[in-house]
Symmetry: C2
Subunit: 228 residues, 2 copies
DNA sequence: TTGATTTGTTAGTCATAACTAACTTTTTTA
DNA sequence: TAAAAAAGTTAGTTATGACTAACAAATCAA
């Protein structure tokens, strides 16, 4: 029987590395994730990552061969999913009950996700009546640790003439989220691709009667579902 | 002008030392607090405390002479009061909204009090409609940092025949709090001192028709206001 | 008032988690 | 396929915050 005591003994750092690795692996299930890629994602040196990975391997959360790619064990995945659940529930709480805007929630949730108490998070979930999505459109894993991913593609991957609906956004950058709101885009907005400029891949889009030109970098952070 | 940026840069440890020192000083305003007393309170070695006090003096949160007693600067006090405010607001939230019992809230609040966000705590305060007291009867400092103390005395300091009302309890021990509830005591209970046994200072009390004998140690952790 | 006890300080060690610099292995490309 | 580039590893350093052991100062008590 695996150890499921109320308080696991992971440090904030260990948790952050596991979550980051999970997200890199989940992002693109085909491509393998290496040490330096994880380092870059976490904005630490490759040496730091190498060190932490050693520790996580010793604790059986990560598996990898020397010079090989990184994988999470079932236990490692379970910890990561629990962190994502906590993160998204807190974001939802801040957004729905404490007047936080969607660009403000991520940084505080990044701290709150490390609070250790199963009761806290399950009661918070109940208090909010088991929300399905966080303020950025991402699905919240349930208490059983079921992690579903909505089939989503980036706005930048569409072609001229395509019509889609905004279903989620990357919540990492405050400036990006503010800009999304500023131009009038929101979750569920219906977007039409008018034109893709070959020169710099910038995209002319139409939504709610508005016409805007956005960069490829912007479109990479917008997740949509194709309609029609 | 003093530095009041949104995120102060104190570590969890620095915060805990400042809060502990404040509480020792507030507890008994006449008696001076020394290095080893603070160490014992925090359950760390005197050497650790000595080291941290050096750091807090360098940052101008603590003042003391070599081999002398410890004092907090105005800034040190302000940080401590903010922590107490956060701690008690979180306890109130857990108790009133998330079905935590009064013996469960303290440990989780001990973690939550270190989350850095002024907006978070002021919005939480507003969400709960500015509660005055935490689940253990302690007053919650307001956003201006005003720290009031209810005039309170321990149950153990009363004499035979005295009648009092339970206004607060020490929230440090889960077992103690459970026991308080178990015997049927709660905030506002009216208690009469029937007898104090000389031998071991145990106290026979009456409340709500119940008669119980409690130890001096128990009575030291119960705060009351004399009535009549 | 002087010796014992308490209180406070210093020095040195350990664990965690970051860093840089140097090195090795693997992969890519010419 | 051999040199170059990229990816990964190791060694050594730093900062924080614990610890113990040894020592010094202050206070208490006979
Ligand atoms: Mn987020
Ligand atoms: Mn985090
Ligand atoms: Mn408490
Ligand atoms: Mn604390």
């Amino acid at each position: 029987m695996t150890n499921k005591s109320n308080l696991n003994n992971l440090t904030k750092s260990e948790e952050d590395y596991l979550k980051a690795l999970f997200q890199l692996l989940a992002e693109d299930h085909t491509v393998k994730v290496g040490n330096n890629q994880l380092a870059e994602y976490l904005k630490v040196s490759p040496a730091s990552t190498n060190n932490m990975i050693k520790k996580l391997k010793a604790k059986h959360y990560v598996v990898s061969e020397k010079y090989g790619k990184l994988e999470l064990t079932a236990e490692g995945q379970s910890i990561a999913v629990r962190l994502i659940r906590k993160h998204r529930l807190w974001e939802t709480f801040l957004y729905n009950y404490l007047n936080f805007s969607w660009d403000e929630v991520h940084d505080v949730a990044e701290q709150l996700e490390h609070i250790k108490s199963y009761k806290l998070i399950d009661e918070l979930d109940r208090f909010m009546d088991f929300p399905e999505k966080d303020p950025h459109g991402e699905l919240i894993p349930n208490a059983k640790g079921e992690y579903k991913v909505i089939p989503k593609i980036t706005l930048s991957s569409l072609e001229e003439g395509d019509v889609c609906r905004l279903i989620a956004v990357n919540d990492g950058s405050v400036n990006f989220l503010r800009f999304v709101s500023e131009i009038g885009l929101a979750l569920s907005s219906k977007i039409k691709i008018l034109e893709i400029r070959e020169f710099d891949k910038s995209i002319r889009i139409q939504f709610d009667g508005t016409i805007e030109t956005v960069t490829k970098k912007f479109a990479d952070n917008v997740f949509v579902k194709k309609v029609i």
